[in-house]
């Protein structure tokens, strides 16, 4: 499947990345080195690879060279809501943020719940010729929570995981069947954990801030109850479960305990959940309205600790674009979600690496190696013959978030004006540079 990208993004000329710090968690490598790419593949990584004929040398002195970043959780809004984002604009935003691959959630209009829709997303992703786009299929037909989709057919058409994201899988019975059936085909079920009878019309975290603002709260328990359910079902079935956007301290603790007893579970932390708390909602800021909601200081600390110890082994953005006038409403009436592709790397470095929570190698693991493994994707490694998907980033670059410069069609971020450190300089897909940020002021 990886070679399909050549249709629209033919492999670039042989490329030698020279002068950088090469980080490849899959090989335990972190040090100076050179990386040679040819015909869309990694040829080799070494201390000094000379100057082979016909090879373009790219000077990456002072920069980090790592396997391409992979985001398992993005909403591309196409088909149906192209005013917010398209597959092409989302793939370009991803490339600008340093991602070489993204996984598209199926909650479009209509939802991606059959092989034709999966094929459409895949084809549009190829045409975008930016980051690779991997479709995820819905768990249930119409995401209605009633009967399973044709999961095998969707996998044949290119789906890499199934999920009803945007909503939970409504009943435990259906979730059990989804886990067992998906396990038959070796793909994970990604779960948006929310008990809708507990979130019950809530628009932000339930706590003192929601009480003061007079907004309906979503208690931690709405998420925790569902995480507990899904972990027990993964244990029952032996299937692979991926828990999306974990926001609660009890959620982190339950996942940690489940993994210790052998449950096959991976889990996401989002940059907004490890950076912000429900204080960000003060003054009814709709750009901080997101589901699951921004929680308390204790929850944020637990999410950070989960990233540090690997309980939350994947950093994913839950990139959720909305048109500006959809967020320009009273808080209750604004949609949930914020864009994340173009701020994720900077937030992860600023909040997690600069503060000493994790080192850069762990960061690359959480944003590349672990996500590749979680969804069985090519990449996540600089091993010989791996796809030539490489991210080159400057971990020290200071920049200020200016949504007007986003490649995404949407601007809904709570991080406007925030100073960050770390940004992508080159994003290389299939050996071709799809984002060149050298000399560009972001």
């Amino acid at each position: 499947m990886a070679s399909d990208v050549s249709l629209y993004t033919p492999p670039g000329a042989p490329l030698l990345l020279r002068g950088g710090r090469v980080i490849d968690p899959s090989a335990g490598r972190d040090g100076p080195g050179e990386v040679l790419l040819r015909d869309g593949r990694i040829v080799e990584v070494g201390a000094s690879l000379g100057s082979p004929d016909g090879v373009t040398v790219l000077d990456v002195t002072g920069l980090v060279v790592c396997p391409g970043l992979i985001d398992l959780h993005v909403h591309l809004r196409e088909p149906g809501q192209e005013h917010k984002e398209t597959i092409a604009s989302g793939a370009r935003a991803a490339a600008a943020g340093g991602f070489t691959a993204i996984c598209a959630m199926p909650n479009t209009d209509p939802p991606v719940d059959d092989p034709a829709a999966v094929g459409y997303v895949r084809a549009a992703g190829l045409r975008a010729a930016a980051a690779r786009v991997y479709p995820c299929g819905a768990v249930s037909v119409g995401q209605a929570g009633e009967r399973l989709t044709e999961i095998g057919e969707m996998i044949d058409a290119g789906a890499v995981a199934i999920t009803d994201d945007g909503r939970p899988v409504l009943t435990a019975g259906l979730m059990r069947l989804a886990l067992e059936y998906a396990h038959t085909f070796g793909i994970p079920v990604a779960s948006h954990c929310e008990d809708l009878t507990l979130s019950r019309g809530g628009v932000m975290n339930e706590g003192v801030v929601s009480t003061r603002l007079g907004l309906t709260g979503i208690p931690n328990a709405a998420e925790d109850v569902c995480i507990a359910r899904d972990l027990l079902l993964a244990e029952l079935t032996g299937a692979r479960l991926h828990i999306q956007h974990v926001s609660t301290r009890a959620g982190v603790a339950m996942i940690r305990a489940a993994r210790e007893r052998g449950v096959d579970v991976t889990a996401e932390a989002t940059p907004h959940h490890f950076t912000l708390t429900d204080d960000a909602v003060e003054a009814y800021r709709t750009d901080a309205k997101v589901n699951p909601p921004l929680r308390t200081t204790a929850d944020r600390a637990a999410v950070i600790a989960g990233v540090a110890d690997g309980t939350l082994d994947v950093i994913a953005t839950d990139h959720a674009p909305h048109h500006y006038d959809e967020k320009e409403r009273a808080f209750d009436d604004a949609p949930f979600g914020l864009v994340g592709l173009e701020t994720a790397l900077g937030l992860a470095i600023s909040e997690l690496v600069d503060s000493g929570v994790i080192d850069l190698s762990t960061l690359v693991h959480r944003m590349s190696t672990a996500p590749a493994r979680a969804f069985n994707l090519p990449g996540g490694s600089l091993a010989a013959d791996a796809p030539a998907d490489v991210t080159v980033f400057d971990p020290g670059a200071r920049w200020t978030v200016d949504p007007a410069k986003f490649r995404s069609k949407s601007r809904n971020t709570p991080f406007t004006g925030r100073e960050l450190r770390g940004r992508a300089i080159y994003t290389i897909v299939n050996g071709r540079i799809v984002h060149d940020g050298a000399g560009v002021t972001p």
């Binding site: 009480t211 907004l215 320009e328 009273a330």
Partner: protein, 321 residues
């Protein structure tokens, strides 16, 4: 006391962001305005030439009429817009409605809206003065002010008084405005409700929490009894109105047991026999109709101050000076 023409700032969105001095000044300003409503000819030229829009996205009788009387008795030109039958019902967004009104060059908007934060939203986007007449479950500042004015009329001061808000605190903007206003003026505030109708962490707003109405009555000098919306039963917060009255109703018997002269307020409209019994609502401790009278005076004071009036000139302004 400040004599700035922007004494309250541009808007009145809530009591949370007012100082104790500002709240006292509004109450003091309301005093001279009370008398206007007692005259044969109830009109003074304070807001002559000002255009005010009453923008009501939720049904309201009492608050809308009270604002309208206040505006008309101050000689403002008023327009009422209710959501039903207006462009709002046709899908126009709040921001577009506001911008269209603004384009017609209005001076003030009084807004009632079902979403918390909507008054602030509007205030941030238009240059007109915005008065919050109730936003979701957030605040209803003029109701809080008139409650405090009424308590002050009967008890001289609210400082040191124990005021308990009884009822559906979870869904109540009146409760939040009472909590902010009363605590800023030095009262102790309690809330009393079944736990399903108490918001999370309400204690962190500096209030005492009661779950037995007898204990609340035992503690309080003043009870502000909230209306129990009938839909709360349908959505499962309480099992039945009958049971609610049995365990949380403010009844004659419960008041008599306390044996003290407890002042009874209710923001209306009342469900007699649910949150309050008729012999309490109509009894000697009830000041419920006095609240309604004070509502007009408080709203006059707010309109006057937001239009640039200063508290110490209110009496003179009344006479067109």
């Amino acid at each position: 006391m400040s004599s700035s023409p922007m004494f309250l700032g541009k808007d009145l969105v809530g009591l949370e962001n007012l100082s104790a001095d500002q709240i006292r000044a509004i109450l003091d300003t309301a005093e001279p305005f009370k008398e206007i409503s007692e005259r044969a000819i109830k009109k003074v030229p304070v807001l002559r030439g000002k255009t005010i829009v009453n923008l009501f996205f939720e049904a309201s009788t009492r608050t809308r009429i009270s604002f309208e009387f206040a505006e008309k008795r101050l000689s403002a030109d008023t327009v009422n817009i209710a959501s039903t039958g207006s462009s709002v019902q046709k899908g126009e967004t709040l921001v577009d409605t506001a911008r269209n009104l603004e384009a017609m060059r209005i001076d003030m908007v009084v807004i009632r809206h079902g979403s918390s934060g909507s008054a602030q939203f509007l205030a941030d986007r238009i240059p007109s003065n915005v008065i919050n007449a109730g936003d979701g479950r957030h605040e209803h500042p003029t109701q809080g002010l008139l409650d405090i004015l009424t308590i002050r009329d009967h008890r001289g001061s609210v400082e040191g008084l124990k005021v308990c808000v009884v009822g559906d605190v979870l869904h109540s903007r009146v409760a939040r405005s009472n909590i902010w206003g009363l605590t800023k003026l030095g009262a102790e505030v309690g809330v009393c409700a079944p736990r399903t109708l108490l918001p999370r962490d309400i204690g962190e707003m500096g209030v005492q929490t009661f779950t037995r109405v007898e204990e609340a009555i035992e503690w309080a000098d003043v009870l502000n009894v909230l209306r129990l919306q009938l839909e709360r039963m349908q959505s499962g917060f309480i099992p039945s109105l009958r049971e609610y009255n049995r365990f949380f109703g403010v009844t004659r018997e419960r008041l008599d047991r306390a044996g003290r002269d407890i002042l009874i307020l209710h923001p209306g409209p009342m469900n007699r026999g649910v949150e309050i019994d008729s012999d309490v609502a109509d009894g000697p401790q009830s000041v419920i109709l006095h609240q309604v009278t004070n509502g007009v005076a408080v709203r006059m004071a707010v309109l006057y101050l937001l239009a640039g009036g200063v508290p110490e000139r209110a009496e003179a302004a009344k006479h067109g000076e």
